[in-house]
Amino acid sequence: MVRVLKLELRGITKRFGTLLANDHIDVVVEPGQIHCLLGENGAGKSTLMNVLYGLYEPSEGEILVDDKAVSFRGPGDAMAAGIGMVHQHFMLVPVFTVAENVALGAEPTKAAGFLNLEETRRRIKEISDQYGFDVDPDALVEDLPVGVQQRVEIIKALVRNAKVLILDEPTAVLTPQETDELLDIMRQLKASGTSIVFISHKLREVKEVSDTITVIRRGKVVGTADPAAPTAELASMMVGRAVSLNLDKAPAQPKEKTFEVRDLTVIAPNGQHVVDGLSFDIARGEILAVAGVQGNGQTELTEAILGLQDRVSGSIRLDGKELLGRSVKEVLHAGVGFVPEDRKVDGLVGTFSVAENLVLDLYDKPPFAKGISMSPAKILENAKARIGEFDVRTPSAVAAAGTLSGGNQQKVVMARELSRPLRLFIASQPTRGVDVGSIEFLHRRIVAERDQGTPVMIISTELDEVMELADRIAVLYKGKLVGIVPAGTSRDVLGLMMAGIPPEEHGHPTGQAPSAATASTSDAEGGDHV
């Protein structure tokens, strides 16, 4: 089975209204290569691939397959030309079986349109065996782990004889081990002749598998790079200026423990224990990073602390006072600063001005309000000070917050939360969808808050971020605490923990303090600071 195909994008331009998402992009994907499109979130990579896959029509430019110009009116045409795509958000029907999902759109049928899924099952088994996927054709997709769902997506493309496979941010939802498995699969696919377009902003993975790297910045190709190039060089190409990838933070100076969580359990509306018996402490002047694959109870944990969850039991104490059962407002008044995971939904009001967003939780108190009247002059003054302090790139203080870039929106949220004296600072996904340059800045601010003696809790699904910021790392799996380990714990150990395997079962020493692994019992935090 020899499958080769040369793919070329020539001068692709895509406009959405006045926004130029892709600006004359040229990319050549040689047969049998892993070609990486490297760029930050919002650089235009996904738009480009959606154009290639026929989901968007290009405003200008052409697509060439084996040097012949083609035009795709829809994904059907792209698939017929041998292009398959695995979307960042899986395009699988959760209540269908694997076979039904794979068959959809190109269903083998018997007479009168009756489905013939036998044929599909056979093909799934064939591909599954060839690449060691271990996928059951009759399993319901919603019952499968994310990593397996991704393989179903790959099978979907292969069944349609894809010669070029586009993988859009495929590792965003995977544990480190699953990521390594995916990289292996990519190498196998390449060996069997399938070209791969690998879209990512994660330098480590890109360097590991790519044959060629095309760097995209603000909708333009800024150059190609050699996978062997140093990480810092790739990062600065991606961002457009030199960035320091390593945060130099001083070792933590933990003081007394002022934030205590005991046996915290949150029950979801469907009756599931989404947070299950969590106990941990955070000391003043340290950062506890909560790691875990998305959807393992992180959202509910932060919401429970803030008072946004209804069915909560256990205890959450800050400075000796119980927070559980108090209103959100009372919790904020107790000195909790909170950066929510989705700034567009919970962090900002997009149609409000930057200045208004900067006082969303302070608007009713002096100096911004007196009685029932607000003081716009004070609010504007405050805005100017914060914008300067946090280097928010905005046309003006009265511009609508929704028009800012992701990084600048996040700076607005962070500036607001850090602008009052805090007794606890919680930041959920503090740098998701934020450009590398802003990440650096936001990380420094978080560390600065720690150094002022505030207990800090960071929730992140990005392992790099966790390892960079954490003084201690708590890993969540299915709502339970797998363990709390010191900073500097290896990526492998953390990866296994993210899959639910506590460090003492890993079969090799972690090389760290022995007490690290026992933190799941409430009184074991005793000496596990490094």
Partner: protein, 441 residues
């Protein structure tokens, strides 16, 4: 009860109620709730007090055969008091078993709920009939009449299935039934041909649906609002035309020739089953065919797979080259045609003329049947039968004269609807994208 709606009803695999492999039962899977055991116990006690202890010591008689059957079965005669006690004890036994299962952290199986409902209905029937002035009804007539009353409901809920499975909420079933009824009457009257009237009814239903489809799919207007507006519009237009046109010349515009009852020889004389399956009008036979065709179509064919994909995850369907909005448009249109045929039942089979609001809110009951039937054609069929049964029961019971005031009996079909949808279905899960317009990109 399972909450899966994707798998077809017959031969449906029980979704994993056993905790998945590892972990304790408390965290993995859906926890077993107290709701079913508590509900069953409450209803069991109600049965014991009312249908058992308070039952009159009179014999209730249920006729099984009709005069046309080729062999006669004797009528079933039971003492209301004794039967009430026996049945309510059985009901409490089932409830106790459900409680026992819950204490073992196991859910009540489907057969338990179903047998409970059947026994409860039987106890209720015996109690009502036993307390009547003439304690005798024809069971065959009760069931056959239920099917007759259910026909428009079944068509209505099939229409709902077709629309919701593809992601459009069809609140306009009532309008489609009414439009079908009106058009069937006027066209059949003018052509003096009921078959042309039937066809015209389908077209009328489809036209109402196309308006719904156009506004909700192309112009992204809220589907509920379009549906409600359509119901009001059809009601107003047919009412106006009825008063101005039909009333003025009844002979020409409102005396449709009916569709005759077609009896299939021999088979139609089987007791009970005969009249239900083999003594129907063309619309009645079409109903059985439609239920089977929609079921087979949805779960066994390429068309059905695509329809369900569009209703569950339209973006996934789009990325596989399926035209989401065209699929939605034509399915909603088809759904309207099905409801239109159901509407023709009012004027071509049940009554031989059109009157204002002849559908009488049955479109909404059909909507309830659709949800009670869990978006499954066969489920919807049985749900519609249940509502038809309640409807028929209240009229028969009023005739034979029961101690229960007739106003209360008139509430029965609606009470059953509310209990069925709110109490028994629980949190059932419809197609994920139902009611959400699809916008590319």
């Amino acid at each position: 009860m399972s909450t899966k709606v994707s798998s077809p009803l017959p031969g449906k695999p029980q979704p994993g109620n056993t905790p998945a492999g590892t972990g304790t039962a408390a965290v993995s899977g859906k926890p077993v709730t107290w709701r079913t055991p508590v509900l069953l116990t409450a209803f069991g006690l109600i049965a014991l007090v009312f249908f058992g202890l308070m039952a009159p010591n009179q014999t209730a008689s249920f006729g099984i055969s009709t005069g046309e059957d080729f062999f006669q079965l004797p009528a079933l005669e039971v003492n209301a008091f004794a039967a009430g006690i026996v049945l309510s004890v059985l009901l409490l036994g089932l409830a106790a078993y459900a409680v026992y299962l819950k204490s073992q952290n196991r859910p009540a199986p489907g057969w338990l709920t179903v047998s409970f409902i059947v026994l409860f209905v039987a106890a209720f029937l015996i109690w009502v009939v036993g307390g009547a002035r003439t304690p005798s009804i024809s069971l065959a007539g009760l069931i056959a009449g239920s099917v007759t009353l259910a026909v428009p409901l079944v068509f209505g809920s099939l229409s709902g299935v077709l629309c919701e499975r593809v992601g459009v909420v069809n609140i306009a079933i009532e309008g489609q039934l009414l439009g079908g009824a009106f058009t069937a009457a006027i066209v059949a009257s003018m052509t003096q041909n009921p078959f042309i009237g039937l066809l015209a009814a389908a077209v009328a239903g489809a036209v109402v649906s196309m308006v719904l489809a156009l506004f909700s799919i192309k112009y992204l207007v809220n589907q509920i609002i379009v549906g409600v507006v359509l119901n009001v519009l059809v009601s107003g237009v047919t009412g106006f035309l009825f008063s101005t046109v039909m009333q003025a010349n009844k002979a020409q515009f409102n005396s449709p020739p009916g569709l005759d009852i077609i009896e299939i020889p021999v088979l139609s004389s089987i007791p009970i089953i005969g009249p239900i399956l083999f003594r129907q009008s063309l619309v009645g036979y079409l109903m059985y065919v439609a239920v089977l065709v929609v079921w087979v179509g949805l779960f066994k064919t390429r068309w059905g797979l695509r329809v369900r994909a569009v209703g569950e995850h339209p973006q996934a369907a789009d990325t596989l080259g399926i035209n989401v909005n065209a699929t939605r448009f034509w399915n909603v249109t088809l759904g309207g045609a099905v409801a239109g045929i159901g509407g023709s039942f009012f004027t071509l089979v049940a009554i031989d003329s059109f009157t204002k609001e002849i559908s009488g809110g049955r479109g909404f009951i059909a909507l309830a049947a659709l949800i009670f039937g869990r978006w499954n054609p066969i489920g919807a069929f049985f749900a519609a039968l249940l509502f038809g049964f309640a409807d028929n029961l209240q009229s028969i019971v009023t005739i034979i004269g029961t101690p229960v005031p007739s106003q209360f009996m008139a509430m029965l079909p609606y009470l059953v609807t509310v209990l069925a949808v709110a109490g028994l279905v629980g949190r059932s899960r419809g197609p994920a994208a139902s009611g959400i317009p699809y916008v590319k990109g």
